[in-house]
Subunit: 340 residues, 2 copies
């Protein structure tokens, strides 16, 4: 084994605004050693997610930044290549925070076993993974859509938004999705079953959103911020709930808001008794993760819940796939198939 080489992608530099390929570096390293009592993992599928943009910046957030020269953080479905751990056998699949690399040592802490009989393993990174749980717990704990209410979500063809809309429909609510481009909008409306899908690249989003929400908006699942928030704000009903799980439009520090945007937001919070509540999916994990998997895995397996994956081949192509996702060029959950 020690003659084999592993590969990894490290953070080469901190981006100023929009990141570029030069902020990443592919490295070859010796094969990691299996820790005594632990495991050696081979990454099969790496998940790329918007939160990773935040880890590239050197500022305080809910998690500490990736250091310069350190492996980019990330979760993957990995195979147990060698095991000295009584709980895991060679060949088993696990969910692990391996980072962007082909092989990773593990002490077994924090691993979740992946049962390939439950659903396709890659879904544990998307609809049945962190993005799916973000949608599920944000709606369950904060959004609480009721029958007849209107739920709006952006990035509606993505892994969070697509589940938000489908769960809203299951709760008897009206689901309105926003996505970039005609193909995604067609998918959102025709395949996912949203009531309406609006293309944010076309002009007049505020007017089209108002027309699509004749009863106003009761739940806005905030995962983008920026111009979409400005279009949503005047349509929010009294007592509307706004779970805030992401703000991809402002991750690069380029705000597209008018200058008086904060007073308008605060005024709406006040006069409409709005609830804005930020959350990170794992804060609800202890209470709701079990239900999530029990309720949704069968629905994913039998097709009642639909999902879509956007798979890139090869670890070396992860940076380009990641940059594309930040620009909205992906169509579905972004995954990287990693070959050792």
């Amino acid at each position: 084994m020690s003659l084999e080489r592993a590969r990894q992608i490290v953070l080469a530099s901190r981006p100023q605004g929009r990141p570029s390929l030069a902020d990443f570096r592919l490295e070859e390293t010796p094969m990691p050693e299996m820790p005594r009592g632990g495991l050696l993992l081979r990454v099969r599928t790496l998940s790329l997610d918007p939160y990773m943009r935040g880890r590239m910046d050197d500022r305080k957030s809910y998690a500490k930044p990736v250091g310069i020269g350190e492996v980019m953080e990330g979760e993957s479905v990995a195979e147990v290549l060698e095991s000295d751990h009584p709980g895991f056998a060679r060949g088993e699949l696990v969910l692990a925070r391996t980072g962007w690399r082909t092989h990773a040592p593990s002490d077994g802490q924090g691993l979740r076993k992946v049962d390939p009989a439950l659903a396709p393993p890659s879904t544990r990174l998307g609809v049945l993974g962190m993005p799916g749980f973000t949608a599920y717990s944000g709606l369950k704990v904060i959004g609480k859509p009721r029958a007849g209410e209107t739920v709006v979500v952006a990035a509606a063809s993505g892994p969070v938004g697509s589940l938000v809309g489908q769960l809203a429909k299951m709760a008897g609510a009206r689901a309105v999705g926003i996505a970039g481009g005609a193909d995604k909008c067609r998918y959102v409306k025709e395949e996912l079953g949203f009531d309406e899908a609006l293309d944010h690249r076309e002009p007049g989003l505020p007017e089209r959103l108002a027309a699509a929400c004749p009863q106003g908006i009761d739940v806005y699942f905030e995962n983008v911020g920026g111009a979409v928030w400005q279009a949503v704000l005047p349509l929010l009903n009294r007592f509307a709930r706004v779970p805030v799980c992401g703000l991809i439009a402002q991750y690069n520090g380029v705000a597209d808001n008018p200058t008086d945007a904060l007073p308008a937001t605060m005024r709406a919070i006040l006069t409409k008794s709005l609830t804005l509540r930020g959350f990170i999916n794992y804060e609800f994990e202890a209470e709701h993760y079990g239900d999530f998997l029990r309720e949704l895995a069968p629905a994913v397996a039998d097709g009642r819940i639909r999902y879509r994956e956007d798979v890139t081949e090869g670890l070396e192509n992860a940076p380009a796939a990641f940059l594309g996702m930040l620009e909205g060029r992906n169509f579905g959950k972004v995954l990287v198939r990693v070959d050792a």
Copy 2:
């Protein structure tokens, strides 16, 4: 009776930005007639409150605007002058939404009797009235301060802020108040018992607030907005709660925020799992008003809870007192003693 005259103050024009005396007009009118089965009220004490600024604007809010030429809205402690209503006797005191005037007819709907033995009647407009209930319910339902946490409130010598701090102390939390001027700060710290009081007219509020909150801020009771919000934002702890009951700093439409204020606010909501929740006190009335009065009236009566009133004599001086309040020139709950 019909020879007597009543007086009232009407909205003469809609202010552009900061209101002025010319936006109000004092009128003499014939004495209102007692409606059949109803009452005629004589206003004793009129309450002036920041929310009235919103009623002067012609835009959608939680209540409809006062029309041009209509009597300014407001609540008062009034005496029953004549009664054809079985529930109320001549000479009784009631809480009523009379508006800014000396006399008002009433059908009896929505009146609350005022028991002068419970506490001084004017307190039913302040610490034991709408402002007090705003503080009580906002903390109880949204803020939920725990022992050892830090609670910050602005306008700390006013009727909402002064109770927020005193209730925070009773809950075992650290109370930090912000007020305008040395006299108010001395009152807040020495008479109300806050741990710290900061003068927002002195330079360096962000630094002084940080020094006064070494453990960060867990509850920020938002009643001003603007520069204070900007100072509070970086100090909020994860899972901090922000009941939003007022934004007096932006009621005149003059924002003092930097241009990127919204992205910073949204990012904090996201990364710190903040809860911002707007509310109007009456949405919690059915559930909590009884407890409020039962718990606090004895504490006000025996001095465990302190309050301060800023009384102006004469209905004709109500507009000037109101404008002074919007500028922070009052010291305590603003009341107008109305002589018929």
